[in-house]
Symmetry: C2
């Protein structure tokens, strides 16, 4: 667990800023150019560019330059380790990644039958 310590530092640190989380949410919808990412925010393009750099170094997004525009793409896999780390704490009983996956599988195959006591 200690070996991934530095990566966890970087991931959690990246997630600790509301602007960066908002950017991730935007990218959930679709890939975006840097300028378009910056548009809704009331801060300079440079600031957003820095935020994107941080997200990129954390592996939470990837950036690919095509022509003069740089496309930003969500990389959700990077959240996995952090997520798993969190699962190792208490609520493990309640929020169990594994159980959730089974739940999803059951729900996808069996429709709403997967919910035990829905009301």
């Amino acid at each position: 667990m200690a070996c991934m310590s530095e990566q966890l530092d970087i991931t959690f640190q990246a997630l600790a800023d509301p602007t960066r989380r908002a950017i991730l949410s935007m990218l959930l919808e679709d890939d975006m150019a840097v300028t378009d990412v910056a548009e809704p925010f009331e801060m300079s393009l440079t600031a957003i560019s820095k935020h994107l750099g941080i997200l990129s170094r954390a592996g939470l997004i990837s950036q690919e330059r095509r022509g003069r525009v740089k496309w930003c793409k969500l990389e959700p896999d990077a959240l996995r380790d952090a997520s798993i780390w969190m699962q190792s704490f208490g609520q493990f009983e309640a929020v169990n990644l594994d159980a959730f996956e089974k739940f999803l599988a059951a729900e996808l195959s069996g429709g709403d039958a997967a919910l035990p006591n829905e009301d």
Copy 2:
């Protein structure tokens, strides 16, 4: 989602430090006094006391004074919102925040009966 933004700031920020994550891991084993928490670290008691303050303000631990010793206790529920936020990304993709919330609701109300096909 925006409403819990500030709490997420605090939670992720608290988790972004390796010392604090180590403390949480220690508390996973058992409740501990401040001095005992500090013992394995090569830093001052004051520094650890500050870390504990940060964890406490984030709701990740609680502290109860009994006599002259202050006991620290893990509060894993606080990880829940952050965990849910992270689940909305990840391999579950957009689909499944909704399914995940159903899953949580079902699991919380139904206890371990909520697991569709446990083996």
